[in-house]
Amino acid sequence: MTKTITDVICPFCGTLCDDLIVTTDDEGKKIVDVENACAIGAEKFISASNHQHRKTRPRKLQEDGSFKEITYDEAVEYTAQMLVNAKKPSMYGWSSTSCEAQSVGHEIAELCGALVDNTAAVCHGTTLVAVQNVGIPSCTLGEVKNRADRIIFWGCNPAHAHPRHMSRYSIFPRGYFTGKGQKQRKIIVVDPRPTDTAGIADVHLQVEQGYDYELLQALRAAVRGQEISGDIVAGVPKEKVYEAAEMLKSGRFGVIFFGMGVTQSLGKDHNIDAAIMLTSDLNNYTKFSIIAMRGHYNVTGSGQVLGWQFGFPYSVDLSRGFARYNPGETGTIEVLKRKEIDAMFVLGSDPGAHFPMQCVKEISRLPSVAVDPHITPTTEICKVHVPVAFVGVEVGGNCYRMDNVPIEARKVVEPPEGMMTDTEFLKAVLKRVKELRAD
């Protein structure tokens, strides 16, 4: 007999699908089947279940470059000592874990005077900066499904990065006021490449890479009926800009989804700033919203927990006993580049794979701990690797979707024998940190 668990949350991307059906063997130990998930989500469940491939105990890097197995207690001790003894440790990641774990991590950071940062640093951090400059008129994904007749994907490629986004929320679903589904919607894609997402668009504006800001401001001018200089704006003919502006204004409810194409290109927060202001302007003519296509399944949650505990969504510096924030100074990339920190703790992220190599090298130079279920480039260069159970597969916890809607992840199988969850590991570190600081 197998067991079937419904309404399972997918712990991969910020779309946070919550309709997965997972079938396990009768002991609840092995996953047999995953329904409704995209290829990536299914892979996550199946690979978690493949125990042979995983490390199940902490490991410590030796002089010769090899790893030696250590106990969880030893790993807790190393981590606590490292954090307590550092003058300015960084605790980075937090995006592939639950809000409960984040909360414990923050308490450790507060006691140790650490920096706390999540993967927004290399993802939607500049979005958060733009929101701080000009706000963000937004809505939940259900609003998109029920009302939207204009969908813009700007610098994002959901066909690859958020595979079920288009079918669940944005292009295909039929909602309360959108009974005709895709037929009722006009899709615009702005991307320097004719991506697979662009393939299903009504209009593809092939923007010159790195000039989104110019195009966005030109669109804003066009929406206002103002003049634009030059015949071609950022690779797009002027007439097309005016046409696009008309198309946006003529809808009843529009949404701009945007991704790394604007957050990581030249201009960064300015691109998003302009996109938000375009959305804001359009509300003088019709209804418009804008939503960031957040990557990690709980990077949004990390921003929320940091927000209510410290008041800032990422790159929070607690070193002075109070919270400060300025990503250009306190961001993990900056502190690694400038060599401002003296220890590195990573949980729920893989900077080794996703940071520029200069920063990766700096991590490998520092006392460091990586907490990750997988073997990753980060675990490979850190001094200690602590494998833990998979959140959303082997342990539950709260997560926040890209539109900030909280959904509680479910546990579907048991972790391998004797493995800790990240919350348990953090609680043990917190306890030890308190003891060390009391001395």
Partner: protein
């Protein structure tokens, strides 16, 4: 649990009718007691004021829009931080403090129970996560119902039983406390960029009017016998001339009698009335409508209100009234966040600087205080700032000072840049009433507790009630400088929460044993509502029904008010 006896203080307690007499207050097993043993710790309150812990009826302190406000205003934190203490986490923020600071600051002012004023049901889990991280104070949250598609459809079809069953289900699913209505119909209209400016503007595509929504929810509330009445923020907030819409809304409750077992005497609570008491038809001839509102309110005893006093600070406005915030950003050009929530509500956030040198801001300041002074029954009139909309809650002591001292008010009035114009547009200059300490206790303790249906446990010092007690270093008969009022109420001498001393000499010494209040109305889900809920989740929500309900571990220490009608 320790016993305490607070001796020799001047006690102000509407519950027992003590009006400043020297009296002892005993605390035992977390409750107010008749007497205590000789082991009781003695607190000498000679020359000091003793009151029950205060009850906040309306503040935005937890949830998605509060947190968006925090995250999108890093500048609100600049130079405000208090470092980690022996018993406290680090705490910062001015207009939208962190959860820790929220708990500490309320407690320091002697507040022990706080109601979060607007919880979008889809985000209930978030609200409870924040409440869980807010130390000391007991909290509840009001889910919003005034723009809910289920409510629209049932009311339109006149299916009152289904409305009640749905409300009961949603209160349970969200662990909510009361029926909150924000800009009825208008926030749904905002889904199309529109609004309902009067009580008779139909909601687009739903064929129902704000008046019908309010009437329907009010009827349901009394039919269910919930502890609190409907809690309403009516249409047309913040616009010149809106006092008429406010009166139209209040009239819906005319003649309706309360029906509940909690001692609640009103059928409608109108919140932050200051924002709804404007005359004139544009910002140039903008003036106070406080007299008209207060007159109506004084005559009709089945309603309560809170003030929403403007404190003349730089703050952050946030409301489930989406269209209003869009209007505001077009006036002040400051950053604007908006979230429309599927099938349920909308919301918006805009920072705002209430500059005393701007005529409109000064008039708003007058209106809030006028309402507090013109309202004759302090048991039905509560001090709020609609935190953080008209100002942060940390300014309550300042509002108490203004209400208690005509001199400070007149000095303020004279000091405004547009003093003459402000005086001409308002009534404040001609009001010399000074509220008494007893009236303050009514407005901040007994009144709100009774209005919330909690007067048997909170807001008073009768034996058997929860031992929420605050001692302030002030003597009503010996106030030399009105500034002393603000000083005393900003940092209580000591505060007890459920019998635990949480504040001593103005400093937090314990994180107490915080509880979450929610209402279990116990109306079973009928087949029709069950089917409707399943259908709407399948077709229109973006979340599965089975992932919607807030599970118990987000409410680790619940205080469930059971309704047995």
């Amino acid at each position: 649990m320790s016993e305490y006896i607070i001796k020799n203080g001047k006690v102000y307690d509407p519950k027992t009718g003590i009006k400043g007499d020297i009296s002892d207050v005993c605390i035992k097993n977390g409750k107010i007691a008749e007497k205590v043993s000789s082991k009781a710790k003695i607190i000498d309150a000679k020359g000091k004021t003793v009151m029950a812990g205060a009850v906040e009826v309306h503040a935005h302190v937890a949830g998605p829009k509060v947190n968006e406000g925090r995250n999108f205003r890093p500048e609100d934190k600049l130079f405000t931080y208090q470092p980690t203490g022996k018993n406290t986490r680090m705490a910062g923020g001015f207009s939208i403090p962190t959860t820790f600071k929220t708990g500490y600051e309320y407690a320091k002012m002697g507040y022990t129970t706080v109601m979060e004023a607007a919880m979008p049901p889809l985000y209930a889990r978030h609200v409870h996560e924040e409440i869980k991280d807010t130390p000391i104070i007991d909290e509840g949250a009001f889910p919003v119902f005034g723009n809910n598609w289920f409510v629209f459809e049932y009311l339109k079809n006149d299916e009152m039983d289904n409305v009640c069953a749905y409300i009961s289900w949603l209160l349970r699913a969200t662990r909510g406390y009361a029926i909150k209505i924000v800009n009825p119909g208008g926030s749904e209209a905002w889904g199309w960029g529109e609004n309902c400016a009067t009580v008779n503007d139909p909601v687009p595509y739903f064929d129902i009017t704000p008046a019908e929504i309010v009437k329907g929810l009010l009827t349901a509330n009394e039919k269910m016998g919930l502890p609190h009445s409907i809690h309403i923020h009516s249409n047309n907030l913040g616009n010149p001339g809106n006092f008429e819409t406010t009166l139209d809304t209040l009239k819906i409750a005319e003649g309706v009698r309360p029906d509940n077992k909690f001692g609640r005497e009103q059928v409608l609570h109108h919140t932050h009335v200051q924002f709804h008491s404007y005359k004139g038809d544009n910002w140039a001839n903008f003036e106070s409508g406080s007299k008209e509102i207060a007159d109506y309110f004084n005559k009709n005893k089945n309603m309560t209100m809170d003030l929403g006093c403007v404190t003349l600070d730089e703050t952050t406005t946030m409301t489930a009234d989406g269209p209003f915030e869009h209007h505001l950003t077009s006036l002040n050009h400051l950053k604007w966040a908006n979230v429309d929530v599927e099938l349920e509500t909308s919301s918006g956030i805009v920072p705002y600087v209430y500059d005393p040198n701007i005529k409109v801001c000064a008039i708003q300041w007058c209106i809030g205080l006028e309402l507090g002074l013109l309202a004759k029954d302090p048991m039905r009139t509560f001090i709020t700032t609609d935190h953080p909309n008209a100002g942060p809650f940390t300014r309550y002591p300042r509002i108490m000072k203004w209400l208690m001292s005509d001199k400070t008010r007149q000095n303020m009035l004279k000091g405004f840049k547009n003093s003459d114009k402000v005086i001409a547009a308002t009534n404040l200059a001609s009001i010399d009433r000074e509220l008494t300490m007893y009236e303050i206790a009514q407005m901040t303790r007994a009144g709100p507790a009774r209005s919330l249906g909690l007067y048997n446990i909170f807001g008073g010092l009768a034996p058997g009630m929860d031992a929420d007690v605050a001692v302030f270093n002030i003597d009503e008969d010996r106030i030399e400088d009105p500034e002393d009022i603000e000083k005393a109420f900003s940092a209580a001498d000591c505060v007890f929460k459920s019998g635990t001393m949480v504040v001593e000499n103005g400093e937090v010494i314990s994180n107490g044993n915080k509880r979450t209040l929610w209402v279990d109305a116990k109306i079973p889900m009928n087949q029709q509502v069950k089917r409707d809920v399943q259908m709407k989740f399948l077709k229109f929500y973006s979340m599965n029904l089975n992932n919607y309900e807030v599970s118990n571990h987000y409410v680790p220490n619940p205080y469930v008010i059971e309704v047995d009608n």
